[in-house]
Amino acid sequence: MTPDRFRILVSGILIVGVTTSAVLIAAGFVGSLLVGWEGSLSGAAAGTGATTDFGALITDLLAIRPIGLAQAGLVVLIATPVVRVAASVVAFALEGDRLYAAITLAVLAILLTSLVVLR
C-alpha cells in the first residue's frame, strides 16, 4: 500500500464514520421534535428508560425511537477513532512498515484494554 492510498483509506474511514454518526444523530434530533426523545417513530409504545442508559439501545432502535437513533450515532462516533487505529495496523503492514504496524497494534491493544479496564 502506497502512503497516498494509506491516507485516502484513513481519511475515508473518518468521513464514513462521521457522516454516518451525523445522519443518525440528526435523525434522532429531528425525530425528538416530532414525537419526543422517548417516543416512537413506528408507533410503538414510548420508552421508559433513562436517556443516558445505552443498555436499551437495540430495543430503542427496533422501535425507531429518537433516543435510540441519537445513541447509535454517538456509538458510531465513539467507535470511529478505534476503527481508524485498527485500519492503520493493516495499512502499515501492507505498506511493509513492520515497526509501525507493531507500534499501532500496541496502541490498539492498550486502547481495547482501557475500554475493558476503565469502567
Binding site: 494509506f6 491516507r7 485516502i8 484513513v10 481519511s11 475515508g12 473518518l14 468521513i15 464514520g17 462521521v18 454518526s21 451525523a22 444523530i25 440528526a26 434522532g28 434530533f29 425528538s32 421534535l33 426523545w37 433513562a50 436517556t51 443516558t52 442508559d53 445505552f54 433516543i67 441519537a70 445513541q71 450515532g73 454517538l74 462516533l77 465513539i78 467507535a79 470511529t80 477513532p81 478505534v82 481508524r84 487505529v85 492503520s88 515497526l99 509501525y100 507500534i103 499501532t104 500496541a106 496502541v107 492498550i110 486502547l111 484494554t113 482501557s114 475500554l115 475493558v116 479496564v117 476503565l118 469502567r119
Partner: protein, 280 residues
C-alpha cells in the same frame, strides 16, 4: 431542553469545534462552561458531552488533515503509545493521588508553556530540520504542503525522549483528571519536539480522539453521556471542525499560534484555579 436552547448549544458547539480544530484541542474549554453556566446543565453531563465533543472535533477535522498531509500519522501513532498507556496508568492511580496537586502542577506547566509560546510568536518555522538518531530510527521526520508559503516544508522531531515523556504525562493527566489534554499535546510537539505549529496542531487533533475514546467507556457506563445534550453538541462541533479543517492549511503558523495561545492561557488558568479550589 427547549428548541431554543438546542439551537444555542449547537451554535456554541460550532464555535468550540472551529477553535478546537485550529488549536489542536477538544473544545471542552468552551463546551463545559457554556453548558453549565448558560444552559444550566449538570457538570457531570457537561463533562460527558465534552468527551463527545473531543471525539467529534478530532474525527471531524482529521479526515481533511490526513488527506491534506497536515497530520503526521507516524508521529501521532508513536506518541499515542505514550498517551494511551499513560491514560490507563492514570485511571488506575486515580484513587491514590490527590487531584488538587495535579491540577496545580498542570496549570503551572501550561502557563509556563504560554510564556514560551509568546517568545516564539515571531517564528514562522522551527530552525532545525536535521533528524536526531532516535527520530531517524522511528521515522519521526516528514514534510507538509504549506498553503500559505506555497511550498513543501520539511521537518524532523527534536528531543524525542522529552516529547515522549511529556506525552506520557499528558496521558496520565487524561486518565486521572478525565480531561483531554490536547493543549499539553500541542505543547509537547511544538515546544519540546519543535515540529511546525500546524503539524503539531493537526497531529494533536488526530491524537485526542484516540485518547478520549480510551476513557469514554467510563463516562458511558456511569450514565454521564446524555444524548439529549450530546446530540446538539456533536452536530455543532462536527460542523465547526469541518470548517476549521478547511481554514488551517491556509493560515500561517504564526496565526495558528495566535489562536492557540489564548486557549492555552485560559486552560492554564482554569486548571490552576481548580487545583487551588478557586471558582472560575
Amino acid at each position: 431542553m427547549t428548541v431554543g436552547s438546542d439551537v444555542g448549544i449547537f451554535a456554541i458547539s460550532l464555535v468550540a469545534g472551529l477553535i478546537g480544530s485550529l488549536a489542536g484541542v477538544g473544545g471542552g474549554i468552551v463546551v463545559i462552561p457554556a453548558l453549565t453556566l448558560l444552559f444550566g446543565v449538570d457538570i457531570r453531563l457537561a463533562i460527558g458531552a465534552s468527551i463527545v465533543s473531543v471525539i467529534a472535533t478530532s474525527s471531524g477535522a482529521a479526515a481533511a488533515y490526513v488527506r491534506d498531509r497536515m497530520t503526521d500519522m507516524r508521529i501521532g501513532m508513536f506518541l499515542e503509545l505514550a498517551t494511551t498507556s499513560g491514560a490507563v496508568m492514570g485511571a488506575l492511580l486515580a484513587a491514590a493521588v490527590a487531584p488538587s496537586f495535579l491540577y496545580v502542577l498542570l496549570g503551572i506547566v501550561l502557563l509556563f508553556s504560554a510564556v514560551q509560546q509568546v517568545l516564539r510568536l515571531g517564528e514562522e518555522l522551527p530552525p532545525k530540520t536535521e533528524a536526531s538518531p532516535l527520530a531517524a530510527r522511528f521515522r519521526l521526520v516528514g514534510s507538509y504542503p504549506d498553503g500559505r508559503l506555497g511550498r513543501e516544508v520539511p521537518y524532523a522531531a527534536q528531543r524525542v525522549p522529552l516529547g515522549f515523556a511529556l506525552m506520557a504525562g499528558a496521558g496520565v493527566v487524561s486518565g486521572l483528571l478525565g480531561i483531554g489534554s490536547g493543549a499539553l499535546k500541542v505543547v509537547a510537539m511544538d515546544g519540546a519536539m519543535r515540529l511546525p505549529m500546524k503539524v503539531s496542531s493537526a497531529t494533536s487533533n488526530f491524537m485526542i480522539g484516540v485518547t478520549a475514546a480510551a476513557s469514554v467507556g467510563i463516562y458511558l457506563g456511569r450514565g454521564d453521556v446524555d444524548p439529549t445534550i450530546a446530540a446538539p453538541v456533536a452536530l455543532g462541533v462536527l460542523a465547526g471542525a469541518t470548517v476549521g479543517a478547511r481554514i488551517l492549511p491556509r493560515l500561517s503558523n504564526r496565526n495558528v499560534r495566535l489562536v492557540f495561545l489564548p486557549v492555552l492561557v485560559v486552560i492554564g488558568l482554569q486548571t490552576l484555579a481548580r487545583g487551588l479550589g478557586v471558582g472560575l
